[in-house]
């Protein structure tokens, strides 16, 4: 025992000596500040970074001021962004979702309005679909340029499950209810729902509120008119949702299922569920996990219309796009403007399409055939282009501080822990920022 221990002690001593040298070496490379001629671009870290890296390289070929791409991976992006935006680590340009994700920064006077840049190069605005561009307009000023793909929410289905049950994809709410009953009779969970993540639940509210009341109700509420939540339309949307859940549409254990850990996509692809309401990234999720299913049996439609509803059935909800916003304190506004212009270049559009994203520039049309799945891209692009309204996801329309409350309220009303009054009260407690 003794020998083992003294050997260990010696090893520890050697390790300690090594360790003293290591962090100095390792930490040295980490600083992102410096007064070099650089602009730092901060983006959400995921597969799309490929394209961003490519564009940065293109930019650096001609620019004297060099662009540096920094990424923050995973679900913590907004948290981390908020914690560094007012420090020296703050980037010059950063990825965001528009809407509420930037209003706190606008209010804190940290962002640069892009209207002057647009005056010099009108293309920075006119080359993008208006319904998308407007998401990053705050108090009448433009604060963002679209920089990735649009992500509308679609009603996905398993073609084989529907065919076996003899149902066609529902166009109306009543057809959806009928499909739910048929599937339930066959012991299949009608609709997969990753309730554990909470935001998939929110998608049902967004569409139902839009179909029943039109986009105006939420716009009013976001604008500070809290009575909107207590309107008859609001209560009717809640009632329809309750009705759907009580019909057994989501099964009983939906709050234990997550989309993020692959649970709800697997329900759909394995035929244990018939439908799933999900963002357009769902296609690549399935394509990664089970390419055969994605190619053969994955189907999609728009959200059904609701009888007597005020909302146009062509309306869409989801993430309109992601945006690049610019910090006021950037030292190189001209270089930034040059970089932003790349976001409507042909190179950008082709690169995005090649990895399955759907850009929202007006020239996207031309290149749709080069997409990984042209039919899917075309369906979405037409849907977004023709939509009278594109409602940004609620948790992104409100400032980040509201997210937890919204997520908890949508979960608790759907699972029955909260009644309609409770939900309305929770939503009325939100600060619009």
């Amino acid at each position: 025992m003794m020998t083992v221990r003294s050997r260990l002690a010696r090893a520890v001593a050697v390790g300690a000596a090594l360790a003293l040298a290591l962090p100095l070496a390792a930490c040295g490379g980490g600083d992102s500040g410096g007064d070099a001629d650089e602009i730092h671009i901060l983006v959400y870290g995921d597969a799309t970074n490929k394209v961003e890296t490519q564009l940065v390289e293109t930019f650096n070929k001609t620019s004297k001021v060099k662009a540096v791409l920094d990424t923050i991976p995973g679900a913590d992006y907004q948290t981390k962004l908020q914690t560094i935006i007012n420090t020296n680590q703050a980037p010059d340009i950063f990825f965001n979702w528009g809407g509420g994700s930037i209003t706190p920064f606008v209010k804190a006077n940290l962002l640069m309005p892009l209207d002057d840049m647009i005056a010099k190069d009108p293309g920075l605005k006119s080359n993008f679909l208006p319904s998308v561009f407007n998401t990053a307009v705050v108090d009448g000023k433009s604060y963002g340029v679209p920089m990735r793909g649009t992500q509308p929410v679609l009603l996905f289905h398993n073609k084989k499950v529907l065919a076996d049950a003899g149902i066609t994809p529902p166009q109306t709410w009543d057809e959806l209810l009928a499909a739910v009953n048929t599937l339930k009779g066959k012991k299949i969970t009608p609709i997969a729902l990753g309730g554990g993540d909470q935001w998939p639940t929110q998608m049902w509210y967004q569409y139902l509120y839009d179909r029943v009341a039109g986009p105006e109700l939420f716009a009013k509420a976001l604008g500070g008119d809290k009575s909107a939540w207590d309107s008859p339309d609001s209560r009717r949307a809640l009632e329809l949702l309750r009705q759907l859940k009580d019909a057994g549409a989501f099964g009983t254990n939906f709050d234990s299922v997550k989309f993020t850990d692959g649970g709800s996509p697997a329900l759909l692809s394995s035929g244990k569920a018939g439908f799933e309401l999900m963002g357009s990234w769902n296609y690549s999720t399935h394509n990664d996990a089970n390419p055969t299913f994605a190619a053969k049996d994955l189907g999609w439609t728009a959200f059904p219309s609701v009888p007597g509803g005020k909302g146009d059935p062509r309306n869409v909800v989801g993430n309109t796009n992601n945006f690049y916003s610019v910090l006021k304190k950037t030292k190189h506004p001209e270089a930034v403007a040059e970089f932003l212009k790349l976001q409507y270049s042909d190179e950008f559009v082709k690169a995005q399409l090649s990895i399955g994203n759907l850009p929202t520039t007006t020239n996207t049309d031309k290149f749709l055939d080069t997409a990984t799945n042209p039919a899917y891209s075309k369906f979405q692009f037409d849907m977004v282009k023709q939509a009278p309204s594109f409602q940004l996801s609620w948790d992104q329309a409100y400032p980040p501080a509201a997210t937890t409350t919204i997520h908890q309220a949508v979960q608790q009303y759907l699972n029955g822990r909260m009644d309609a009054n409770g939900f309305i009260k929770a939503m009325q407690s939100l600060q619009a920022g």
Partner: protein, 313 residues
């Protein structure tokens, strides 16, 4: 390993008072020897603790400046049902953890102190959960307990619809179970060490007195394990109150706010809602509650008078 971060003040008081005499001042180290560590610790633990107090009277969102708001945070929290609920939940989770872990770790510890065949191999397996970080354990169980593709999906007879994360009882049950899974081996170790140190004479004497197995356990083992039990209890209480990783990864405080315990609520307020003032106030409350409960346990149990129970390890 949250429980190990706050070990009890072991084995010090009595010896300290006993050993102070004798020797000259010659060759004794001065205060300078303690200075670097003290400064370092003061900067990262004591200064932040003071700052927590200060921040709890301010409003700060991380992007603006820090503003003094007096008692506003405290008033808001006092009226906040989630806050009150989080305190109850923390206490409930801790109590359930103690109720589940104590008997099992006592049994396993006493068993492992014996001399059965294969004991070494078996105790090695007992140990495995301790080798994983809390993060890894939480990730593992999140996968294993998935209602459709985890164990519940394969054993519907045992788990019903498997809605473990979707109901209050289920989610609390999962948290208690997963923490127990990870920490029972740890507490069993404490008991094992103490049980080995029980003098065999005591058992022989009890046997002579005609005590059966239960009698021996009740009258010899248990009293001899008293100090070990107190150590284990203190660690469980402090660990339970500061549980964070498991909640973040397994339930995210949900469903709804059903598992939003105080430590998680602090994180949520500070780092998700960017209300650092409220977060600091909750943190302060957490320190106060943890200290009070530890003190109560220590006083009630006479822990402060004990010697080290772990010398037999």
């Amino acid at each position: 390993m949250a429980t190990t971060t706050v070990a009890p003040p072991l084995m010090t008081e009595e010896r300290r008072s006993g050993r102070r005499s004798g020797g000259q001042n010659l060759g004794r180290p001065g205060f300078a020897w303690a200075l670097p560590a003290t400064l370092f610790f003061g900067f990262f633990a004591i200064v932040p603790l003071v700052l927590v107090v200060v921040l709890s009277f301010t409003s700060w969102s991380g992007i603006g400046s820090v503003e003094y708001v007096g008692l506003a945070n405290w008033r808001r929290l006092a009226a906040d049902p989630t806050m009150t609920q989080s305190l109850w939940l923390s206490v409930l989770l801790t109590a359930l953890g103690v109720a589940v872990q104590t008997p099992l770790s006592l049994l396993i510890g006493v068993w492992a102190a014996g001399h059965q065949r294969n004991r070494a191999v078996l105790s090695a397996i007992f140990f495995l959960p301790l080798l994983l970080s809390m993060t890894a354990v939480s990730v593992l169980w999140r996968v294993l307990l998935d209602p459709n593709f985890g164990v519940p999906g394969q054993l519907p007879g045992l788990f019903g619809d498997g809605n473990l994360f979707g109901s209050r009882t289920g989610a609390i049950g999962v948290l208690v179970f997963v923490s127990s899974w990870q920490f029972i081996p740890f507490h069993a170790l404490i008991y094992q060490g103490a049980a080995r140190a029980v003098p065999a004479v005591l058992y022989q004497a009890a046997e002579v007195d005609g005590a059966g197995r239960w009698g021996q356990f009740r009258h010899v083992t248990l009293p001899q394990l008293r100090n070990a039990m107190i150590t284990s209890l203190v660690l469980m209480v402090v660990g339970g109150l500061t549980t964070f990783d498991t909640v973040l990864i397994l339930t995210g405080g949900g469903p709804g706010t059903d598992t939003t315990i105080t430590a998680y609520y602090m994180y949520e307020q500070a780092f998700k809602s960017f209300d650092f003032g409220a977060g600091a106030a909750i943190a302060l409350l957490l320190v106060v509650v943890a200290t009070i409960i530890s003190l109560i346990v220590v006083r009630v149990s006479g822990y402060d008078k004990m010697r080290s129970t772990m010398e037999g390890l």
